[in-house]
């Protein structure tokens, strides 16, 4: 069917430290890998969507100068941590609109050693107090009126969930156990930034960043890239049996922003837009949460993973803690979550993440995930959140 869009080729680079490679090197490695995986050349691509948040907004053309200046439209996209998913969706939309038969989406970030992200409003105070900005502030407010750092913002997101759904156990240990799961999962993922298992004790005794998130409970800053080639359903039918067998159907591609809620400009509301995206995606794909064989969700912090169990409707409303404690989200559970190791252990090179999580799902649907293969996987979901906010959800299905 011409209105279907398929992933024909997809790949990710090793996430970690790549001191000898720049963003274009990593993007080229991923793009060439995706084209090779797809079995088609750059000359067939009708659109390039390039995601790179911290690099200045011209990745697409720089990449073309290395792998092929074919004159096609380039969209340089930025959408916080949803940048990769936005690039992928841009390519999907172009194919779906009939403007291109094939599209290439790339996301890359150089983030190794980046340290804390955001929390930048604390500049030196001036010599006289002068109100400025939208709050008429006479001095920087980060650390004076709440926190702007991501580990602190997302700590509050998780704690807010426990405020609404009281938990009688130890909050800190609960969130640390989520991180323990993801650090265990990544031991089977050779492309993860961290592949060493961490005990619960090690996680809890590591450096506290913003309670209850210790360092290993925060997403790992690292370098990496991912890329995907998408194709229309009608063109896919003209390709080889092998290409058709390995192609993965994009059953839903959804992007949302946060609708206004009472507190959303006080503490970012990462819940409503995720619930909206999930509802739209399930409806578009004609599948429900119970049909999912694996989920890659945006565990930028251990405290975030918990709320997204609920937001993606993987559990009963308010039941995220019980759901986790049942073991459902471990790789041998009923709904394996972040079998790649997630952002906490696989790593989070921002703009690569929203394509890398789709790669992880595709890898399982194709039966190519090796030691970490979720047996018989047919349907999977990939989710990202970019704070501010944007939410991308993709539902993927194995070729029949």
């Amino acid at each position: 069917m011409s209105d279907e869009v398929w992933i024909l080729g997809i790949t990710m680079t090793k996430f970690g430290k790549h001191p000898d490679k720049d963003s274009v090197d990593l993007a080229a490695e991923a793009a060439l890998g995706a084209l090779a995986d797809a079995g088609v050349g750059i000359d067939r691509m009708g659109i390039l969507a390039a995601g790179n948040l911290l690099g200045g907004g011209h990745l697409g053309q720089s990449l073309q100068k290395q792998i092929g200046q074919t004159g096609i439209p380039v969209y340089n996209v930025a959408n916080a941590c949803a940048t990769g998913a936005t690039a992928l969706r841009t390519a999907i939309m172009a194919v779906k609109a009939g403007e291109a038969d094939y599209g290439l989406a790339v996301g890359v970030e150089k983030l190794a050693g980046a340290g804390l992200l955001a929390g930048g409003s604390r500049k030196d105070d001036g010599s006289t107090w002068t109100p400025s900005g939208r709050y008429g502030a006479v001095a920087a407010v980060d650390g004076r009126i709440g926190t702007e750092i991501m580990p602190g913002v997302f700590a509050q997101v998780g704690m807010e969930y426990l405020s609404a759904h009281p938990y009688s156990g130890n909050d800190f240990e609960l969130f640390a156990r989520i991180s323990e799961k993801n650090h265990a999962h990544s031991t089977l993922n050779p492309l993860a930034a961290y592949t060493k298992r961490m005990t619960l004790e090690e996680i809890m005794n590591d450096v506290m960043i913003a309670y209850p998130n210790t360092r290993p409970m925060c997403s790992a800053n690292c370098d990496g890239a991912a890329a995907a080639v998408v194709v229309s359903g009608s063109v896919l039918k003209t390709l080889s049996q092998e290409q058709q067998r390995r192609a993965v159907k994009v059953s839903a591609s959804v992007l949302t922003t946060d609708p206004w809620q009472e507190a959303c400009q006080i503490l970012p509301d990462v819940n409503t837009l995720t619930r909206n995206a999930a509802a739209q995606a399930y409806e578009a794909a004609g599948v429900g949460p119970a049909d999912l064989d694996l989920v890659e969700l945006h565990d930028c912090f251990a405290t975030a993973e918990l709320v997204h169990y609920d937001n993606l409707m993987l559990c009963e409303p308010g039941g995220a803690v019980d759901f986790f404690e049942s073991g459902a989200t471990w790789r041998d559970g009923s709904t394996p979550v972040n079998v790649s190791g997630g952002l906490q252990s696989k790593g989070h090179p921002i703009a690569a993440t929203g394509i890398a999580n789709v790669w992880e799902v595709c890898h399982h649907l194709r039966g190519e995930a090796g030691d970490r293969q979720i047996e018989g996987a047919k349907v999977g979901l990939a989710h990202v959140i970019g704070l501010g906010s944007a939410c991308g959800v993709h539902i993927l299905e194995k070729a029949a």
Partner: protein
Amino acid sequence: MPAQIPLVDYLVLGDRPHLVAHECSACGARYFDRRNACASCGGTTFGTAEIATEGTLRTFTIVTFAAPGIPTPYVAGVVDCAGTSVRANIVNVEPTPEAVTLGMPVRLATFPIGADSEGTEAVGFGFEPA
């Protein structure tokens, strides 16, 4: 007493310090920043709403690792002030998970954050256990 200036323009000083919000005349949505229009309904007229000075702590974090120049640890949180959410530090409390608890009652507190070269004192705010 030296001249005072609030850290942000939505903090009103004086005998009875309190916070104020821009309240959308059409839908009642409240905002602490300068507005172009209402993000909830698109309205462009706003009144001023006084925010309750007592509330409950809806969520918090204890920041121990911050940007250079910010003293740590400190407690950051969101306070539900009679239905209006306020971002603030939680002050006059031990910054430990034992001392800071979800749902604890808190009240507005103000404190000087320093004087500028002309001797004007800036005053910040937080919420302390009630």
